[in-house]
Symmetry: C2
Subunit: 210 residues, 2 copies
DNA sequence: GACCGGCTCAATCAAAAGGTTGAGACGGAT
DNA sequence: ATCCGTCTCAACCTTTTGATTGAGCCGGTC
């Protein structure tokens, strides 16, 4: 690679964009060539070309999610690499990002050196995972993903909506016994022991919508 | 006031601190005199003196919460003003911050001009609320009928986190009877009859953070 | 054809949550 | 001085939820 690594900063917070610019501009081999305040804008800018690495947040206000933008950018022929830079490290977030073709996953509390190193790694075509993130992925591999079944997610969503077992059973044309049975399995898979903590856990892992 | 407004930046993200520094240093009447990566460090630095305004995040990793640090700093004689700068705008967060003596409440997606204006307002001894935040407070005033008290929101937040009455009572140093009592009032105000539906209703109305 | 995972249901027991009533302490407001 | 709202707690009771065990049905797979 000749010339500096050309960067696009995609984050809805002006302060964060300024921070990234300040941190990365001190590196002589980096050049920030653009900023985007929405995921849509990031996709449009990336499609124009002249960008090597996109630093992408996952949480944007309204509009499309960062992982969707990542998928769109990754689908571009000869498009830039996408490096996720976010606050959260839930399984669902990480998996969605990797699934979408992200070249790396960093947490916003990462020190500047780690950030710069990850950008270079991504630009070179290799994968860059923050140590904490890599650790979570390893954990998940070791403990085979206890994925919830379709029916279980259906029940869990209704629990999250605040329905009682009675109400859920009527809505799904089940007996309360069956609803309870599903809940027992859900609790076991999520490692919790009450419906409210199941909702909390599922929300944190983005298993159900809120 | 003579001389520049002296600022302390308290945020656990190096990138955000760099961004704030970059944004605020362009203002000639501001001077960033310190940074803190934890709430505890912010309190220690504020106690030393020579600071006019603290820009404080609410969410820190481990350790004390930003609102606790705000209370500690506000308790200092001739201490600096504290300006909350965070991502969330739920009732629970806002009330805790105001209660703790915060001089203002801004959201991280605020444009730089709004940020600078708020800092000057706080330094002058007046209150600075982001338009979105002020709007929420107005709403709350208009409909006092169903407004939850601070304590009730506190309990409700923990319910949303998945804790049982037993766990909540220990965490808040209450008896279970008191927790139940709060819940009865919460249910009545929200028009629901179970903890899960209370969480659902509160989430929909953005009373608590998820 | 046998096996397995997912879905369904029942019965029973223990624990947690919810409803009701009543009451004391405390601070702010009238 | 009194009233009112908030916060605190208790006792009692009913309902819901969770834990356990066991079992039948169905569709896909080896």
């Amino acid at each position: 690679m000749t010339g500096p690594i050309r960067l696009l900063l995609a984050d809805d917070h002006p302060v964060v964009r300024a921070g990234l610019r300040a941190v990365l501009d001190t590196e002589t081999d980096f050049e920030v060539v653009g900023e985007a305040a929405t995921a849509e804008a990031a996709v449009r800018r990336a499609a124009v070309g002249g960008v090597d690495v996109v630093l992408m947040d996952l949480q944007f206000g309204p509009g499309i999610h960062g992982s969707e933008a990542t998928a769109a950018i990754s689908a571009l022929p000869d498009g830039p690499r996408v490096l996720i830079l976010t606050t959260y490290d839930t399984d669902a977030d990480i998996l969605a990002a990797v699934e979408a073709g992200a070249a790396g996953y960093l947490l916003k509390d990462a020190p500047p050196e780690e950030l710069a190193a990850a950008v270079r790694t991504a630009a070179a075509g290799r994968s860059a995972l923050a140590p904490a993130v890599a650790h979570r992925l390893m954990d998940r591999m070791r403990t085979p993903a206890q994925a919830l079944t379709k029916r279980e997610l259906e029940v869990l969503q209704l629990v999250g909506d605040g329905l009682s077992n009675q109400q859920i059973s009527k809505k799904l044309f089940l007996s309360q016994a069956t609803v309870k049975s599903h809940l027992v399995h859900i609790f076991a898979k999520l490692g919790v022991d009450s419906r409210t903590s199941a909702v909390a856990a599922a929300t944190a892992r983005r298993l159900i919508r809120r």
